[in-house]
Symmetry: C2
Subunit: 284 residues, 2 copies
DNA sequence: GGATTTTTGGAATAAATATTCCAAAAGAAC
DNA sequence: GTTCTTTTGGAATATTTATTCCAAAAATCC
């Protein structure tokens, strides 16, 4: 008896005493437990981590089938996480459940129904394109590549930013954020067709942005920098972009466009994150 | 007996034969039935209409309690809507719920958890800020104001675009889109501190963009145009913005920012929609 | 005001779902 | 290879939840 009491030091203490009270806590505990778990329970953890959102609307049997384990395994998994059982875990997610659609989707539909080609219909489409781009970025972002880009730029003396045509707004914003974060940066804007390639000094780095159809000047500057041994960071649409060949680190940004125009939402989100991260890294 | 057969023409045919197959159909049927329903069923209809989103994660008893009716009443209500019972109705909403978060929110959380201040955490935050901005724009966009802006700009000879500092990326992109759509436009970029205010000719219009803290030059140009009798269209954050005073039409764009930087997603979506709409209107 | 129809509430039942438990399998330790 | 521990799967059970049914209450009609 004494040896099986809850505080028995010999017992595997995988079973937490208290249930997570929020989705954040849930994730924290999941991450904690994740690493040393036997096979079946591991499957549960993986499946649940990837399908957290379905907990609120599924039964034990459904989730177990998805994870390809018997229901009892999933049951044990819930308990390891600290819940008394599946129902308690589900309650957490049912309460947190708040789909975006009650209002947003309806409203978007109304906008789009303003008549094809009407200003509000266009607005609806661009909002949608922006949202999809951001979601795609969230799903596809390569954290390692981002960290590498930050490292390269943080180590540079001066950051040379280049992006023309539709990438120009992004380049501008980058220059703005770099300035605010006190990062020495130069915007290569091609004003007056002046080419400032000799501003590139040893110790500097280039941040080049271009999307198909790739702009020649941007690629030329990147190539030039490369030849002179300066590191180049690229923001582009594909790993196969010509820019990627001259770059030391590549960030690909998915962007959904409607009609002929990019939403730029994802590109800008990535750009600010990059610039702010570089600014902080230098500050230290 | 013969009089109570399922096809009895005298029976109230409130009971639809086939169940709604989508959320839209569901709403349509609800609206249809809504009007002539006895008291308790009416309560069900009202409550369900206002809490559609909770169907997926509630039990009959919970919803019935919310509507303040006995469970059996809610049960009948489901059948009137054409479902075999509550479970069938719930299935519809549980399945429809897939697109909301499919994987995105999970992934976003992971990004943010990369450690406070890490590049990927920042990216997660900016993605979120962008998404919230777009949703807010969808909800708040004023279609009439947008249409009015389009009308004003479509009637202009040349569109003068001005936006500095953080609004500059937006101004650039507008200039780019106008060019692609063959709309005569001039970007006032303040390069060399050159002031091109005399480029404003009768028949032209100004499109000014600025957010708090409002940039002086932008307001000055708008004011100048106004004095000379040219129409001014404003993109800004508040109806109380100083820009609004000199403008004939105002577009307010909600933008959520994270830290010191705006996501610009909503602003850009609005800008492209505006420019494309103006382009089309002129083409006709 | 009585007859007829409709609506209602709740008790009874059916079905689905969660949860436990234990014998068997797998794995680790010796 | 044997023993001991951990993990597993599924059958048995408990619990919750949905659904039906019918008598009582309202409402409607004559």
């Amino acid at each position: 008896m004494d040896q099986t009491s809850p505080t028995d030091p010999a017992a595997p203490d995988r079973m937490a005493a208290t249930a997570p009270a929020s989705v954040e806590e849930f994730r924290a505990r999941l991450a904690l437990v994740m690493d040393d778990l036997p096979r079946r329970l591991r499957q549960c953890a993986d499946y649940i981590a990837a399908n957290t959102d379905r907990i609120a609307v599924s039964t034990v049997a459904e989730l177990a089938a998805g994870a390809d384990v018997p229901p009892s395994a999933l049951m044990r998994f819930c308990q390891i996480l600290g819940f008394s059982g599946f129902s308690e875990m589900q309650r957490l997610f049912r309460e947190a459940y708040a789909p975006g659609w009650p209002d947003y989707a309806t409203r978007l539909k109304n906008l789009k129904e303003g008549g094809a080609g009407s200003p509000s219909a266009l607005l609806g489409e661009f909002i949608e394109a922006g949202r999809l781009s951001l979601e795609a970025l969230a799903k596809s972002a390569d954290e390692a590549a981002l960290a590498q880009c930050v490292a390269v730029l943080a180590a540079a003396q001066t950051v040379h930013v280049i992006g023309l045509r539709r990438a120009f707004p992004v380049a501008c914003y980058l220059a703005y954020v770099f300035e605010k974060m006190s990062v020495p940066a130069m915007l290569h804007d091609s004003v007056g067709k002046l080419d400032h390639r000799f501003a590139l000094r040893p110790g500097d780095a280039v941040l080049a942005i271009t999307f198909a159809p790739y702009s020649e000047e941007t690629i030329a500057l990147a190539q030039d920098a490369r030849t002179r041994g300066l590191p180049v960071v690229a923001m582009t649409d594909q790993l196969t972009s010509p820019l990627a060949r001259f770059s030391d680190a590549v960030l690909t940004v998915p962007e959904v466009d409607f009609g002929a125009f990019r939403s730029l939402s994802a590109t800008i989100a990535m750009a600010i994150a990059l610039a702010v991260a570089v600014g902080s890294a230098r500050g230290e």
